[in-house]
Symmetry: C14
Amino acid sequence: MGPEALQFFIWSVAAAGFGIAIAAVGCGLAQAMGLKAAVEGIARNPESSGKVTVAMLIGLAMIESLCIYTLVIGLILIYANPAAEPITRLLG
Amino acid sequence: MGPEALQFFIWSVAAAGFGIAIAAVGCGLAQAMGLKAAVEGIARNPESSGKVTVAMLIGLAMIESLCIYTLVIGLILIYANPAAEPITRLLG
Amino acid sequence: MGPEALQFFIWSVAAAGFGIAIAAVGCGLAQAMGLKAAVEGIARNPESSGKVTVAMLIGLAMIESLCIYTLVIGLILIYANPAAEPITRLLG
Amino acid sequence: MGPEALQFFIWSVAAAGFGIAIAAVGCGLAQAMGLKAAVEGIARNPESSGKVTVAMLIGLAMIESLCIYTLVIGLILIYANPAAEPITRLLG
Amino acid sequence: MGPEALQFFIWSVAAAGFGIAIAAVGCGLAQAMGLKAAVEGIARNPESSGKVTVAMLIGLAMIESLCIYTLVIGLILIYANPAAEPITRLLG
Amino acid sequence: MGPEALQFFIWSVAAAGFGIAIAAVGCGLAQAMGLKAAVEGIARNPESSGKVTVAMLIGLAMIESLCIYTLVIGLILIYANPAAEPITRLLG
Amino acid sequence: MGPEALQFFIWSVAAAGFGIAIAAVGCGLAQAMGLKAAVEGIARNPESSGKVTVAMLIGLAMIESLCIYTLVIGLILIYANPAAEPITRLLG
Amino acid sequence: MGPEALQFFIWSVAAAGFGIAIAAVGCGLAQAMGLKAAVEGIARNPESSGKVTVAMLIGLAMIESLCIYTLVIGLILIYANPAAEPITRLLG
Amino acid sequence: MGPEALQFFIWSVAAAGFGIAIAAVGCGLAQAMGLKAAVEGIARNPESSGKVTVAMLIGLAMIESLCIYTLVIGLILIYANPAAEPITRLLG
Amino acid sequence: MGPEALQFFIWSVAAAGFGIAIAAVGCGLAQAMGLKAAVEGIARNPESSGKVTVAMLIGLAMIESLCIYTLVIGLILIYANPAAEPITRLLG
Amino acid sequence: MGPEALQFFIWSVAAAGFGIAIAAVGCGLAQAMGLKAAVEGIARNPESSGKVTVAMLIGLAMIESLCIYTLVIGLILIYANPAAEPITRLLG
Amino acid sequence: MGPEALQFFIWSVAAAGFGIAIAAVGCGLAQAMGLKAAVEGIARNPESSGKVTVAMLIGLAMIESLCIYTLVIGLILIYANPAAEPITRLLG
Amino acid sequence: MGPEALQFFIWSVAAAGFGIAIAAVGCGLAQAMGLKAAVEGIARNPESSGKVTVAMLIGLAMIESLCIYTLVIGLILIYANPAAEPITRLLG
Amino acid sequence: MGPEALQFFIWSVAAAGFGIAIAAVGCGLAQAMGLKAAVEGIARNPESSGKVTVAMLIGLAMIESLCIYTLVIGLILIYANPAAEPITRLLG
């Protein structure tokens, strides 16, 4: 059962590596949309920059949180998957 | 039946890792759309920032909930799938 | 027939994990469209915020319901599929 | 013929789980388009909110019906497929 | 010829389950386009709501009919395919 | 030659089930474009509703005809394919 | 050579069934574009409805002809392919 | 070499059936773009309808010619491919 | 080496049939863009129709030439490929 | 090594046939963009037609050159590939 | 178990190499959106350039962080994966 | 090792033939964007045609250079790949 | 284990070659967005060109950095992967 | 291990040939965006052509650099890959 056990680690690597990449794309573009709106707003109406910055930071933080969920799942898959221990033992 | 049992854990890993990534992309972009509208609104009309922020937070919270459903399913697949126990026993 | 029985659980996992992710993407973007319109509307015309919020909540709730149908199907596949019992017995 | 019989249940699971997810994406975005138009309309012209809400609810209900057709087919595939009975017997 | 006979039912399930889902996506978005136009029209010109609602209902009904064709084909595939009878007999 | 004969019926099922679904998506969106234009036109200029409705119905009927061609081909594949008879005999 | 002969009929079915569906999507959307323009034009300028309707009908007829070419090819593949006769004899 | 000879006819069928469908989609949408522009132009400026119709017909004819090239290639593949004769003899 | 020789003719068929279809889609849409601009231009400024028609015809002819290159390559593949002769001899 | 040698000619055919088709799509659309701009420009400002036509022809010629590079590579692959000679000898 | 162990390193390489590339695409486009808005804002209103630059830098830094998470995961996969050590030993 | 050596030439053919086609699509569309802008600019402001033409030619030349890099790589793969010589000897 | 060891180098090549290409596409388009905004800004308001150029250079540098991360990973995969040494030894 | 060694060279060819093609597409379109903005700017405001040309050249050069990174990696894969030497020796 060794080869299949290795498959398990291979897919953990793929899910962690590509998962975070996909999430980075999405969340990056998402943060950019908020950033774009904020920057445009400040450029048009510099006096609103305080309130705009606050709203922007709330939004960026919530989007960042989504990417961090993915990072957490990725790190769990590499370091803390409960199924990893019995499978590692199969490697002999 | 060991190799196939390992396949089960592999797919759990993949579904958890890629699922949360896909959801993060979608929900991130979704939150960004709300955030963008809110930031633009505040920049144009700073006096409406109270009501706008409330509506934005309701919306961001509901979108966040969708991503959290996915996170919950992902964690169930890793830690609490009822089918996992009899299958783990097959690993010997 | 054990390996194929495991395939059954593997696909249940995949359908639940990816299904909710796909639905989260779609419904998240959908809620975002409603949210965006509402936030823009409130920012332009703060006095309409009561009626706008009511309409927005009706819409968000109906979209949320679609995602919850998917969650329900996903949980049925994990916990309450009538075909799961005879198949589990095949695992021996 | 057991393994192929299991394939039958696997595809039922996939069709139900992914089908509802795909439909949720489409119908969610569809409802969002109606919701967006309604919310924008109310924000611009609050006095039309009664007629707008009626039209919106008719439309959302018809779109919801499409998603429910998919849910019905999905539940038929899990609980009431006429071909399922003779196939279950093949599992022995 | 049993395994291939099962394949027949598997594809019937897939065609019914995914077909209705695909149709729901398309027809949902289609109805949404009509709904959006109608709602926007009513919000701008509430006095035209009678004529607009009539035209909208004609259109939504015709689009609904397309989705129902798909539902009918799907139900034919599950319950009334003339080729199903001789194939079921092959299951023994 | 039995298994391949079954393949023939499987592809007939797939072509009928997915074909009508694909056509429904396209024709639904097409009808929606016409419907949208008509509804917008009526809302802007209610006095033109007679002529607009006539043109809309001509167009919707021609688009509906395309979907019905697909339905006809689908029903031919299920009920009236000239190649089906000699192939059914191969099932024994 | 029987199984491969069956493959021939399977692909004829697929090409006919999916071909007409694909063409219906494209031509449906195409007719919709013309219909949309015509309806908008009539709504804006009802007095031009005669000339607009004539031009629209010419265009819809030419687009319909493209879909009918596909229908003709599809029916040729089912009923009048010169290669079908010697291949049918191979089934015997 | 019989099975491969059949493959030849299968691909001819597929290339003819799908080729014309793909071309119909593209040319249909293309004709629609020209039609749309012409109809809009006539609706805005009915007096230009003579010149507009002439230009439109030239364009539609050239686009139709592209689709007819595909139809010609398709019919050549079914009825007049020089490689078909020696291959048909291989079925013998 | 007969079966592989047949593969050669199969791919020639596919490249000719699908190649011209793909080119027809692209060139059709391309001609449509030019046609659309010309028709719009004539409708707005009928007096420029001479110069516009000349420019349009130059452009449509150049785009038509691209599609004809593809047709030429397709006909070369069917009738005049230098590699076809030695390969045909392999069919015996 | 005969079958693989045939593969070489098959891929040459595919690369030539599909390559020119893909290039025709891209360059056709590209020429259309230039053509569209030129036609629009002439229609708006007929007096600029000399300079516009010159610029358009330079651009169309450069885009045509890209498609001709592809045609040249395609013809090299059919008629003048240095690797073709030793491989043809392998056909025996 | 050597070949599968090598598979593990192969997928680590792929996940690191393609992951960072995908993330670079997404985050690059994201930074570009922010940059574009900032540059446009400064060009329109040069006096706001201080505040705009600050907001832009916050946003670019947060987007850069997403790409760096991916870089970190990629470097972990190459240099610090806890599963790598026992697997390397399998290479003998 | 002959068959694999042929694979090497097959892939060289594919990379050269499709690579140039892909590059032609991209660079053609790119040149078209520049051409379009230049033509529009000249039509609006004929007096700027000298400066516009210079800038356009610089840009088209730089884009052409990208396509020529691809052409060079393609010709290297056909005529000057250092790995080709030892591999050709394997055919011997 | 030699063949699999070669697979390792093959994937390193693919990840380096395609990774940098993908990143170049994304970062190129990203830099273009910033460049476009800057050029438009300078053309409209030449006096702001100093500040605009500074902001543009900051942004282009940050986007360039993303592409360089990918280049670095690619070069690591070719020249400095810690797993390469023991695997090279497997080639014997 | 010869066949796999050839695979290594095949993938080097593919990565070099397709990689540069992909990068050419992306960078070409990117340069086109900058070029378009510059040309439009010069046409509108010919007096700004000096500053605009400088900014455009900086941007085009940075985008060109991305494509050249890809070209460099491609040439390294063909001429200077450190892994190529020991693998060439495996060809015997």
